[in-house]
């Protein structure tokens, strides 16, 4: 939760990104069970409704899968994201690229940002 890249976001968004980063860097593997909302709230010292909201967002994005009575699990097909999600992501990415180029960030610099962001999840 202390990742400086995400510290300007709402807490539930930070937790969403924290869990995604853990999936990227291998700390969480496909099929792993996430702590219950209550346990995650205690681990993060975070409001339980905030944790529940993060889990709902992750479920809606098909990053995790809720098995009733069993808990939440890292979903099987991380790559199998639907076209709509991909389209939204692409649009957001393009908006950032256009904004950056408009204020004069060189393309090489932008490429370096992309590399850094990707590494941030892996390192």
């Amino acid at each position: 939760m202390d990742d400086p890249r995400f510290s300007h976001l709402a807490y539930y968004e930070r937790l969403v990104l924290e869990i995604k980063s853990q999936i990227l860097n291998g700390a969480l593997a496909v099929g792993d069970k996430l702590p219950s909302v209550r346990d995650m709230a205690k681990q993060m010292q975070l409001n339980p409704n905030t944790v529940a909201k993060a889990y709902k967002a992750l479920e809606a994005q098909q990053v995790i899968e809720v098995k009733p009575g069993l808990g939440s699990f890292v979903a099987e097909q991380l790559a199998g994201t639907d076209d709509k999600t991909l389209g939204t992501l692409q649009a957001r990415f393009q908006a950032v690229v256009v904004s950056a180029l408009t204020v004069g960030v060189p393309l090489t610099e932008l490429e370096a940002w992309l590399q850094d962001a990707a590494k941030g999840g892996i390192s």
Partner: protein, 289 residues
Amino acid sequence: MTVVVEHLEKTIFKKPVLADINFTLVPGEIVGLVGRNGVGKTTMMRTLVDQYHPDGGKILVNDADLGQVPERRSDLFFLDAEGIFFKHWRLTKVGQAFQAGYPDFDLAAYTQLLARFNLKDERYGQLSKGYQALVRVALAIASNAEFILFDEPFDGLDVIIRQQIVDLVIDLVADGKRGVLIASHDLRELDGLADRVLMLKHEHLIKDIRLEDLRQLASKRQMVFSGKTIPEVVKANGHILSIQGRVAIVLFEDYNDTVKSEIEAVNPVLNEALPLQLADLFISELKED
């Protein structure tokens, strides 16, 4: 399953301390009550449990008016750290006394909590400040009252005890059956923990904010502009928190697409997001006077 406070008034020594206070508590929520020292947070809690008799307004607990149905007061739990009557008592006797006062008091749960903190049958007054705080929280939990009021529960506690108390508060609300109101002068204590924050200033409740919603809208930004003055669009939409040299730190309560594009239109040299803390969101209110 709610506490509804309507037009609550309290005057002490001819000085109004609470005026036209309105808010609602629901189970499953942690609500913060913030305001500067001496603003009346403790008075509010004492008035809610009729330790101070309200001078006006109503407190409805599950639709029952506490003024008319005083026995419903046991649905609210407040333990005033200042007027502890059991200082010289052993912890077992303290539990028995609360069992007499709260019809649903769970003595077994109280004993289990004490055991979890490795407390035996010490006298309350001989415990350290942190363990006294844990005993008070254990009493609140074991009371089984639906709504718990905590006054500065983290004040002066070390990080380990603080974490234990946060865990207990999370347990209290996590199943959605009980609600918590926490008064604190320190906004950092509530950051991430509270669903909503009520802000008391002078004798009024000036804000009732759902924090995650606000965090999504708000943005604290570091900005530099090419001109000598700060553009109008920034002044109109944001609170300028500080200016150092050419760098302005600005808080926008609603950094929406319109504001964003208007700011991009004046070509800032620098415009980047900074970490947003709860204190930032209230700083403009807290700074005045």
